[in-house]
């Protein structure tokens, strides 16, 4: 059983704190995705788990075994690199079997296991090719093959799909999902791609400046972000943030006010300045009588399945983004009535914590 536990893990590079006292428990068989802006320490976190970097402080446990000071190859982890890191002078078969050759596994057993893995990944026809004779997607498969052949307990993926073009990325994403279901292993996957994170993860860990901002299931992070950072990071296009105020409403419950708009939030809250957050899909074009505010259309982006509208308003300096059905015809320069969905209102205090 390969539970992965990080206790207070810290990694410093000189004065830079790349990973800052991270506590995390990943259950056996779980698929956990690390997301966060570039430079927030995702790769460093992964590399300390793999053992390629030593920790500055803290403990790492894999399957209840303390591996903090165990050599990388003895930790039972396998890593797939963003750059694939295939050995250019070895064929596909030699690349996949490299670890077994080092472990002096008998030749016929290596051959058998390489063939098995190649079948799983549908790269049997490529076994005699060199990496330079493979396409990006094929190289990715070989890299995955090399990682699964030794039956690791924990898989580490560092942005494995980011070098692929968009169409291929979608296909490989599905394949990784399939792999996840077939292999009985714990997986940690680093990406900055929202869709990959949302679709693959059992749980997402949002990193920022070396520490964890929030951990949760994808939908949980999307619907109930714990703070401004997560609210702004998860979801594309990003949530709209509007400076607002809490004021007393009816029945002892509070209202949130921005500009001339005052919306009941349906619960109590202390009065004061807040940031009001609303996702683009929770704004809609409304009938004149039902609208909350008027916005002047700045730009319309027609994406086919939906359209994104950017509005200028009196209460927000940044344009307000809304998502509308493609059949609604909205034109730049127009003033349109907008209604705010009442169900998903996000309020954040001055420190950025959710209220």
């Amino acid at each position: 059983m390969a539970r992965l536990v990080l206790e207070d893990v810290t990694k410093r590079f000189g004065a830079v704190i790349a990973v800052d006292a991270v506590d995390l428990q990943i259950e056996h068989g779980e698929f956990v995705v690390f997301v966060g802006p570039s430079g927030c320490g995702k790769s460093t976190m992964l590399r300390t788990i793999s053992g390629l970097e030593s920790v500055s402080a803290g403990r790492i446990l894999i399957g209840d075994r303390d591996v903090t000071h165990v050599a990388p190859s003895r930790r039972g982890v396998a890593m797939v690199f963003q750059s694939y890191a295939l050995f250019p002078h070895m064929t596909t078969a030699e690349n996949i079997g490299f670890g077994l050759r080092l472990a002096r596994v008998p030749k016929d057993e290596i051959a058998r296991r390489v063939t098995d893995v190649a079948k799983t990944l549908q790269i049997e026809a490529l076994l005699d090719r060199y990496p330079r004779q493979l396409s990006g997607g094929q190289r990715q498969r070989v890299a995955i093959g090399r990682s699964i052949i030794r039956d690791p307990e924990v898989f580490l993926f560092d942005e494995p799909l980011s070098n692929l073009d968009a169409a291929l990325r979608v296909r490989m994403r599905l394949e990784i999902a399939r792999l996840r279901d077939r292999l009985d292993a714990t997986m940690v996957y680093v990406t900055h791609d929202q869709t990959e994170a949302m679709t693959l993860a059992d749980r997402i860990v949002v990193f920022n400046q070396g520490h964890i901002e929030q951990i949760g299931a994808p939908v949980e992070l999307y619907d109930a972000p714990a703070n401004l950072f997560v609210a702004g990071f998860i979801g594309a296009p990003a949530m709209n943030f509007i400076p607002a105020e809490i004021e007393a409403g009816e029945n002892g419950k509070a209202n949130v006010r921005f500009g001339a708009v005052s919306l009941p939030i349906g619960r109590e809250a202390a009065e004061g300045k807040v940031t009001f957050g609303v996702r683009p899909e929770h704004l809609s074009v409304a009938a004149e009588s039902e609208h909350d505010f008027l916005g002047r259309v700045e730009i319309v982006e027609k994406l086919g399945a939906e359209s994104l509208v950017y509005l200028q308003t009196g209460f927000s300096k940044a344009p307000i983004t809304m998502r509308i059905p493609p059949e609604l015809s909205v034109h730049a320069g127009e003033e349109i009535p907008v209604r705010v969905g009442r169900k998903r209102l996000h309020l954040f205090d001055a420190e950025g914590r959710v209220i």
């Binding site: 390629l52 890593m79 690199f81 750059s83 694939y84 295939l86 250019p88």
Partner: protein
Amino acid sequence: MADAAVLPPARPPFNPWPAVIFVALIVLALLFLAPTAGVLLSSVKTTREIALGALWSIPAELYLGNYAEVLANPAVHRYLLNTVLVSAPATVASIALGALAGYVFAKLPFRGSNLLFLVIVSGMFFPPQVILIPLFRLFNAMNLIDTLWPLIVIHTAMGIPICTLLMRNFFATVPNALREAAILEGANEWQVLIRVALPLSLPALAVLATLQFTWIWNDFLWPLIFTQSDEKRTIMLGIVNLRGQYSVAWGVQGALSLIASLPTLVVFLFFQRYFIKGMTMGAVKG
């Protein structure tokens, strides 16, 4: 009438430079080849024909007696053997040590390693004359004069700077991710070097092998200093020695010169197929 709008392709103005450069290169090539051609010509002439002063003429007949004489000479066998006994181990040792040092400098840097690297590479700029006398006294004290050992040791040592420089720079182009991937697969540092870094550095190894072998094989100075007896002489001294044995043996000397340059040619031809670039392609690019 649409054609009227199309201008005839402008004729580029005559550019004399390619022609000038071409001619200059031909002249240079001839100048470089002339001595070789002279040696080749004299090696297939009889001593008598050379003595008549016809050094540059086409020989009256193809006379192979000089080659037969050289190849039958047991002293020449000894010279060739000695040269191999110096060149082969010194080439291998200097490249091996350079590869080890280069790997550390490229992949396992430590505090002060850059400075140490500079110190090692600066060894390239020592003129041999400066260290000649101390080395002679050193090897004399060790009782190694008139053996091949000083030659092997000196050529190995003198080769380390260039080998370290070249190997370090080549290893630096081997992506770090390859080393890390190998380590995760269970390789130790030595296995990373042998199974990943070196196979990817065949071009550098081939260049160094050719360079080192040629340089050591053709060396004249060090064997002149450290060997005295005919049994320990290397081939370059042997060519000169032949002059002493026979009065004016231009033909024999020419033949031996050509024979002496064959091994370096063979080494070059053997290794040149590895002088290819782009071995690391496909390692880390998408």
